[in-house]
């Protein structure tokens, strides 16, 4: 198990990158703590697989260094890094039995037979495949095979990190839940450093201690699921995470007040006078209805009942706003007055969050 340090890391697939645009992964400095579970979250082509491949040693970065604990492994081949990886689709050795599959990484490293047998049984118990140990891997279902790949990844006790590259893509929805829970339990039990690549926010938020959100080759925020929800550092995090995503409205911010579509909104904290493209971000969960005549005037376009709550689609000036309301809430029809809960308000300048100054302002 290891602490992973990424220092000045960047990668371009072009031989001579010139502008920032040429980089598939833009400069990144970060330390990933030992024994934590991280999720790399982002849409397709955001650079998350590039980053994973650099860590696993399939790619050598164009610049920067990768350190496992304090050892520089930037150019070390995959085998030397002592990592384990679970791929997007199950990679198992078809002609071997489940037992042979699990024993394979240990045998290749010359472990003694007694230890291998014990360890294999232990892992089989963990992934719940004791009954199938002597069956051929070929012919098992996709999720059973994925469990084998997972088991093969965990069979070595000394792995530096366990990497997951969208491992649940081919798994049935009900099995996804089960496998993810199992994974989480295993993490608690053994404390491997885990890195989990996904484009599914639910997977990332439920699995990881910390989520690394990536967009266009850049890490835009690293934080706990709660951070990402309450304090998105970048507008991308705001609308990529959450369902529906954060409402973003152009605003004119003056201290603790903002003018939004001609109306004034209290921000709760002072933000100075940010320049550039200034936007007010508020998650639908923090949009409330106000008594008649107070707050901002809006019009209800549509209400979608999704079971646990209702999503209200509103028209506010020329902007669309979403609000999440509990099932019990009585909705006005047609025109309505809304307000934003100051706790849930964030101010963005050129897409990056502006830090409020000082404490609460009344």
């Amino acid at each position: 198990m290891a602490k992973i340090t990424l220092s000045g890391l960047a990668h371009s697939y072009l031989p001579a990158p010139k502008s920032d645009e040429d980089f598939a992964l833009k400069e990144l400095n970060h330390v990933w703590d030992d024994g934590q579970a991280y999720a790399l979250l982002g849409s397709s082509g955001c650079g998350k697989s590039t980053l994973l491949n650099i860590i696993s040693g399939l790619l050598i970065p164009s610049q920067g260094r990768v350190l496992f604990n304090d050892r520089d492994v930037t150019e070390a081949p995959t085998a030397e890094r002592n990592i384990a990886q679970v791929f997007q689709f199950p990679v198992v050795y078809d002609t071997m039995t489940v037992r042979q599959n699990l024993a394979f990484p240990l045998q290749n490293r010359g472990a003694n037979a007694k230890y291998v047998a014990e360890r294999v049984n232990q892992i089989a118990q963990m992934i719940g495949m004791e009954a199938e140990l002597d069956r051929k891997a070929r012919g098992l279902t996709a999720d059973a095979k994925q469990k084998i790949s997972l088991g093969r990844g965990m069979v070595r006790e000394d792995v530096n990190a366990l990497l997951f590259d969208e491992p649940l893509t081919v798994i049935d929805p009900h099995m996804k839940w089960q496998l993810r829970t199992q994974l989480k339990e295993l993490h608690h039990e053994f404390g491997h450093t885990m890195i989990y690549v996904t484009h599914d926010q639910t997977e990332a938020l439920t699995f990881a201690d910390k989520v690394v959100v990536m967009s266009e080759g850049r890490v835009v925020q690293i934080g706990t699921p709660q951070d990402l929800f309450e304090r998105p550092e970048h507008t991308f995090v705001g609308y990529f995470i959450g369902s529906p995503g954060m409402n973003l409205i152009p605003a004119d911010v003056r201290g603790s007040r903002a003018i939004v579509a001609g109306s004034e909104v209290a921000l709760g904290r002072s933000y100075g006078e940010p320049d550039g493209k200034v936007e007010l971000g508020v998650r639908p969960e923090f949009v409330r209805f106000a008594p008649e005549g107070e707050g901002l005037s809006a019009r209800i376009k549509r209400v979608e009942d999704v079971g646990r709550h209702k999503i209200v689609r509103l028209e506010f000036g020329e902007h669309d706003i979403n609000a999440v309301m509990s099932e019990e809430e009585d909705l006005p029809s047609g025109s309505a007055f809304i307000r934003f809960d100051p706790v849930g308000i964030n101010i963005y300048s050129n897409d990056w969050r502006v830090q409020p100054q000082g404490g609460q302002v009344q």
């Binding site: 650079g47 697989s49 590039t50 399939l58 050598i60």
Partner: protein, 285 residues
Amino acid sequence: MSATTTDAAATRARARTGRRFNTSALVMVLYLVFLFLPIYWLINMSLKPNSEILGGVTFWPRNFTFDNYVTILTDPSWYMGYVNSIIYVSLNTLISITVALPAAYAFSRYHFMGDKHLFFWLLTNRMAPPAVFALPFFQLYSSIGLFDTHIAVALAHCLFNVPLAVWILEGFMRGVPKEIDETAYIDGYSFGRFFTRIFMPLIASGIGVTAFFCFMFSWVELLLSRTLTATEAKPIAATMTRTIGASGIDWGVLAAAGVLTIVPGALVIWFVRNYIAKGFALGRV
């Protein structure tokens, strides 16, 4: 995602070839030299006059001449052999694919009474030794007046090409999700229109590979095509026996004729080279 994976693969491949380049390249060079040596010798011989050929071994033509080729290309009884071969090979490829397409579709999409037995029976025809069929074919085609026609050879070659075509195409068709058919029918396509407009383009590489195999096996076969023809449809391969005359074998012309039989095959390979690489991997073959 796909872009990054491919690039990752490229990097890996580079790293790997860096280490193994020499041995792999050496193996390939040796193998290709082994393949090419006999062909080189044939070409070498075809460019020499007979006196030089029989005078002793020379590694390149000292008395360079195109006379052997001129002999073949100016004599209709020679070059018509090529025309005949190409006619029946094309006919056979066309027939094989035309009948195999719907059959392969049926096998890949539907269960019907006796489908498995039928499929197996079709394949057994690929295992029939042509030598077994030579004589009965001769009698059959003579009795219906098709002896010494291109169509006779084309039909006879269907014996082994149709089963093969059905088999290869079925493999490719299985790879096309059934949902595509269903969507097309819901969109109001008739079977014919769906098959020609949507389905066939989807398995284009499969059809390419099948055509390649049909062409190949029909082009190289001699026993049946020689048995079923006399003069009108005589294939080039059979014409080559003419070089054995009263004064011995005309080696130069024989070699030139041999070289010329390689040319159409080489052209076909060149045209389908991208299909071979892609097609071999896609289907079952």
